[in-house]
Symmetry: C2
Subunit: 235 residues, 2 copies
DNA sequence: TTTTTTAACTTGTATTTACAAGTTGTTTTA
DNA sequence: TAAAACAACTTGTAAATACAAGTTAAAAAA
């Protein structure tokens, strides 16, 4: 029986409410005691949920004051984008699937070390291109191990977050990870995909994301066009 | 009376022990109950300390098993460097002070918004250049508000972390922050400082770090030579 | 009216207790 | 001997309770 802890349920609910705008930016969340009463929990449980929101950068707590809803930033996966031009809202985001999920063997000389389980099961491969205000900014190549993912090759990924699909359909959650960042000169193919002017550098990211499923890691290579936008992160 | 909470004391102690190698990489920390007994605390308090270590990526907890000490990575400030060549140990790290701390007025058109307190007090400015294996890789420009920092302009920063000095001498701790990352073409002066070949891109980072002192934020601009190394991060 | 005090909130820290659930080595049983 | 059951650990979740400390606005005093 997959029992979801109470603090997790409250966390998900509050998170959803914040994203949906139920609680406005800059306003206060209900106090801890109010949340206790509303959801029949004790303060330690409520605080556990709020701690997770703080960690995510969704809220900011002030002793004596309350929990303040922070300015929501535009997320792409675990990263965020801050635009140089006006506001970057979700409505300006488009995703093209350059390569629908297919089952392949792992590439030779893969940048990360794989576990035996991952090696055996083969990998699911996909490529996406993301646009902000009609400009391609984000090209990502993903390798996932082919476990826990029935019918993944049939799913539509258009305008949906990979993480959202993994979370809702496969109960896979990203816990954390590591990444390597570089500035590199774009080669011909990247130049073409991201519609770069020649000589324009790109941000190159390699990441390994760990999940709640043992031995299930997500490996991504990202090329980011930073001419008009920047990668934005809280920590 | 500045009272330091118990969980914070335990956190600092364990962190120090891990850094100093008292607990080896891959080995288990004493169990929660053992820590309770050793330091006269209750489990929630001990767990609070361990949670912070997990957040820092210092340890990894496994239910039924224990708290595993993670591989320690080479940190520069809050970031880390992973070398393409062999190991990047602290012994290969050198710091040059290009501009000793001086008191200046804040630059006009500063990239970040300043609080009134910060504006009034002026700023401490310094520039550093860091080498890995004799190659300049890391050029950083720092602006701190001129508060809480007596005699800062007299201190030696050679081969010392700015964060370490702030923490040990001024009780200022970095809590978190935000950063913007870009890949840019290096201009003439950056090219010269980082000894770049012409056309070589650099990673450009702008960050604002918040601290435990109200209204005291650290503002840094970093240029990173990613030809042979990469910025490495856990999250 | 203006200032000070107070009371009623808020989050922060900490103890105590209990049981669930995952891991591992030992003992028992087939 | 080999498999199954058990015991003794580990961390995970959760309740109930208490007091400290920061914030705010109302009440009281100047």
């Amino acid at each position: 029986m997959e029992q979801i802890p109470q603090y997790r349920k409250l966390y998900e609910l509050l998170r959803k409410h914040i994203v949906d705008g139920v609680y406005e930016e800059g306003s206060l969340l209900p106090s801890e005691n109010e949340l206790c009463a509303s959801y029949q929990m004790t303060r330690p449980t409520v605080r556990h949920a709020l701690d997770s929101l703080v960690k995510d950068g969704m809220i900011l707590k002030k002793q004596g004051k309350g929990s303040i809803v922070r300015k929501q930033i535009q997320n792409i996966g675990i990263l965020s984008i801050s635009g140089t031009a006006s506001a970057v809202g979700v409505r300006y985001l488009k995703t093209d699937i350059l390569q629908k999920p297919v089952i392949k063997t792992w590439p030779e000389n893969f940048s990360f070390e794989l576990t035996d389980l991952e090696k055996e099961s083969g990998c699911v491969y996909m490529e996406r291109l993301r646009y902000v205000e009609e400009v391609p900014v984000f090209y990502d190549i993903n390798h996932l191990p082919n476990i826990y993912l029935p019918r993944i090759t049939n799913r539509s990924f258009e305008n949906k977050s990979l993480f959202e699909i993994l979370r809702k359909n496969y109960q896979i959650e990203v816990l954390g990870g590591e990444q390597k960042l570089k500035a590199i000169k774009a080669d011909k193919s990247i130049q073409k995909i991201l519609q770069l002017r020649s000589g324009q550098p790109v941000l190159h990211i390699e990441r390994k994301l760990t999940t709640n499923k043992e031995g299930f890691n997500i490996y991504s290579t990202i090329y980011f066009n930073s001419e008009k936008h920047a990668i934005f992160g809280n920590f």
